[in-house]
């Protein structure tokens, strides 16, 4: 645990010292503000649900920009050698990279609380769905980060790691959409596999355990794969 704390701290320094982090933060905030205006303010709705949908979709692109360097950069610079010869386990390394990015992601979501404040002040906002919506966003973020981290564990090229993650995340997203259109036997299966239906379930003001389980299990799965991929680096 001590190791994870030290490693996470270094991860946070790295993220917050890189200009890319601020570019991502700015773009994310700008996009979310833009869509908040159109889906909520201009539409005269007093609900965050439209904004949440957009935020999760923008995260599909924003998170891989942060995760792509996590392990790829260690491989490219060779710093992985010092990391893997230090008395820390591969799981600790992966866990700390995950936690560091998660902290950044939560920081990225923080400015959106302004929208909540605006709606509270000028509209009639029910806080229940807002709370559950944020939980949903955080859980979806965990899954996106885990997948991005796994992609980063495969390649020493950041661009490859980043684009693989975006494509994979989009694919998982789209699969759900497709499922809704084709119906029949496979429709519900595809819908279940996709991200969107699970996220939508968080809009109602309750925490749907089933859908939370989806995000948690996919996160755990990709973190596990990332640990394996990191271990396998030793054998090559």
């Amino acid at each position: 645990m001590r190791n994870v704390t030290a490693l996470t701290r270094r991860e946070l320094i790295s993220i917050f010292c890189s200009p890319l982090a601020y570019v991502v933060l700015t773009l994310f905030t700008a996009f979310s503000g833009f869509f908040f205006f159109f889906t909520t303010v201009a539409a005269l709705k007093s609900s965050m649900s439209g904004t949440f949908g957009i935020l999760s979709f923008v995260s599909l692109f924003a998170i891989p920009l942060i995760t792509m360097r996590l392990l790829s950069d260690e491989y490219r610079t060779g710093a992985i050698e010092l990391l893997m010869t230090a008395p820390v386990t591969d799981a600790e390394v992966v866990a700390s990279k995950f936690l560091g990015t998660l902290a950044f992601y939560l920081a990225m979501l923080t400015p959106t609380l302004i929208y909540v404040a605006i709606l509270r002040r000028y509209g009639d906002l029910d806080l229940g769905p807002v709370l559950s919506g944020y939980v949903g966003l955080a859980l979806a973020g965990c899954m996106f980060i885990a997948l991005g981290l796994f992609c980063s564990s495969l390649s020493q090229n950041q661009i490859v790691a980043g684009s693989t993650a975006v494509v994979a995340l989009l694919l998982i997203w789209v699969v759900g959409e497709v499922g809704q259109y084709i119906g029949g036997e496979f429709g519900p299966l595809l819908t279940y596999a996709g991200t969107e239906s699970h996220l939508a379930a968080f809009a109602g003001g309750r925490i749907p355990l089933c859908d939370a389980f989806y995000f948690i299990s996919v996160t755990a799965f990709f973190l596990f794969l990332a640990v394996r991929a990191l271990e396998s680096k030793r054998w090559r």
Binding site: R9, R10, G78, A79, I80, T85, A86, P87, V88
Partner: protein, 310 residues
């Protein structure tokens, strides 16, 4: 302290390290030499459990490098080739981070970092970003990192590369210093460095150990010794007179002004200098130089690593 038993590493069909065995005792500084690509770095990576061995075993401080990898990593300070550090951290931040993940108790982290920065001359550079440091300074940060948890075993891959002559001196002194209570295995291409710092030497060639021995026994290898003399006399006669010296294998002569320079290869245990001077005196030649040379580490190195395989 370090026990290596038939350690082997293959990359596909190529054998990088071929069944090498050696031991390093506590308090020894051992130089690990070999041409580029001989397998030095691969061996060091296996010992630090970065790379798994294809076969064979090794143990550091009694812990198996494969089965007890974390324990081994706690015992070893490692300076890898090329010193890959995080460029976005400051020197003291980096060292504190490394101290923490190496298990230095939180309360001692500051003190340990101060101590190694002092030892490696980094105190004034503590607030610098690692990314802006020169190669030599990075090297010293890497060394400070290796020392930060005061591990009993140090594995240093070319510790003095990229340093200026003053820094090289400091680092050598540091290593010699460490040698009194640490076990050090260091690789280098600078042979005089080995002669200065190391008590023992291992030469590896094509993945095999070509030579191992104590530095003070280097001369007693089968290489034989050499006698160099400069005699004031005509070359042909000097050749005839000296080629028959007891224990001489071969003679080379060359005129330098009025002097004839003679190089004799002789047996290891034979010192023909006295006889040489007697013969010169008999012929009425005066001597300008007369000395006996033991083969240097460099000669041994070159001889062992350039010969073609039979």
């Amino acid at each position: 302290m370090i026990h290596v038993d038939r350690l082997t590493r293959r990359y596909g069909a190529t054998v990088a390290v071929d069944s090498i065995s050696f031991d390093v005792e506590r308090g020894e500084v051992v130089g690990f030499l070999g041409p580029n690509g001989a397998g030095k770095t691969t061996t060091m990576r296996m010992l630090t459990s970065y790379l798994p061995a294809t076969s064979g075993t090794a143990a550091i401080a009694g812990k198996d490098i494969f089965k007890d990898s974390l324990a081994v990593r706690r015992q070893v300070g490692y300076l890898p080739e090329g010193v890959p550090l995080y460029n976005d951290l400051r020197v003291e931040e980096y060292l504190a981070y490394r101290a923490r993940i190496k298990g230095v108790p939180s309360r001692q982290v500051r003190a340990r970092v101060e101590q190694v920065m002092g030892r490696c001359n980094l105190t004034e550079l503590r607030r610098k970003l690692i990314g802006v440091l020169s190669k030599g300074t990075r090297q010293r940060v890497g060394l400070a990192d290796a020392l930060v948890n005061d591990p009993p075993v140090l594995i240093l891959d070319e510790p003095t590369i990229g340093l200026d002559p003053n820094q090289i001196r400091q680092v050598r002194e540091l290593i010699r210093d460490l040698g009194s209570d640490h076990t050090v295995l260091l690789s280098t291409h600078i042979l005089p460095e080995v002669e200065m710092v190391c008590g023992r030497v291992l030469i590896i060639h094509r993945g095999r150990i070509a030579f191992q021995g104590r530095m003070d026994q280097i001369g007693h290898q089968d290489a034989g010794a050499r006698i160099v003399a400069e005699v004031r006399g005509p070359e042909p006669e000097v050749r005839v007179a000296l080629a028959t010296l007891p224990g001489a294998h071969s003679i080379q002569t060359r005129m330098e002004g009025p002097f004839c320079r003679v190089e004799l290869a002789v047996d290891q245990d034979n010192d023909a200098r006295e006889e040489l001077s007697r013969r010169a005196a008999l012929n009425g030649w005066t001597l300008r130089e007369l000395r006996r040379e033991q083969p240097s580490l460099e000669e041994i190195f070159v001889r062992l690593t350039t010969q073609e395989e039979a």
